[in-house]
């Protein structure tokens, strides 16, 4: 529980720079998120994710380490408002030229309440 309730890590057969483009380019991001994505990947940048089932989420970028790490907060605004969660995605080079891709998602109120 040190870092977040939901954690995933996968190894990808692609260079980190190529994988980063999958995050930085909203069209590519939208493809694997299965959503229409409009997101400015800079600290403080805002965006929206609209999903095929009608769900709409708003997002706010907290932090970006170009090519390596992005964290954002997102929350559902339709069909009904949800509480924000915090997502951190890390892109790490592997010795074999591939990429280790890590995701964490946790309720964003958690850090505040737990302190």
């Amino acid at each position: 529980m040190a870092s977040g309730p939901v954690e995933r890590e996968i190894e990808l057969d692609a260079a980190p720079a190529e994988v980063w483009q999958e995050l930085a380019d909203p069209e590519r991001l939208g493809d694997w998120f299965d959503a229409e994505v409009d997101l400015e990947l800079t600290p403080g940048g805002t965006g929206t994710f609209s999903f095929p089932d009608g769900e709409l989420r708003r997002a706010r970028v907290v932090d970006v380490e170009e090519g390596r790490r992005v964290s954002f907060t997102w929350w559902t605004i339709a069909p009904e408002a949800g509480r924000p969660t915090h997502v951190t995605i890390t892109v790490e080079p592997r010795p074999d030229q591939g990429t280790r891709f890590r995701v964490r998602e946790a309720p964003s109120a958690r850090a505040r309440v737990a302190a």
Partner: protein, 109 residues
């Protein structure tokens, strides 16, 4: 996160993030209710600290106080843990689908 009591889920994760609160829950999970005084005697924390931790666990719905004479005894009410697990399962499944699509995209090239 629709479909869950989001605030409750947040409170559960917050409650579980502290080792002392996990110890308190572990003790109460043994089955018998206990007072703050009893818990403080069994754990390396003051009664005052235990009372605070019990408040947070209560806020998350993980413990329920019952008054017995002059004493308040706490028992474990684990249902909110199920909501938290359900949240983790849902969110985890969403990421599994996204990551599978990401892998598929990169392998197509």
């Amino acid at each position: 996160m629709s479909g869950h009591d989001d605030e409750r889920v947040d409170a559960v994760f917050a409650a579980l993030s502290d080792p002392t609160r996990r110890s308190v829950l572990g003790r109460l999970a043994g089955g018998t209710a206990a007072s703050a005084t009893e818990l403080a005697a069994e754990l390396p924390v003051s009664r005052q600290a235990v009372t605070k931790h019990l408040q947070m666990l209560g806020h998350a719905g993980l413990v329920t106080p019952t008054r017995e004479g002059r004493e308040v005894r706490y028992s474990i009410t684990p249902a909110p843990l199920g909501d938290a697990v359900e949240w983790m399962t849902d969110v985890g499944a969403q990421w599994d689908r996204r990551l599978a699509r990401l892998r598929g995209r990169l392998e197509k090239r």
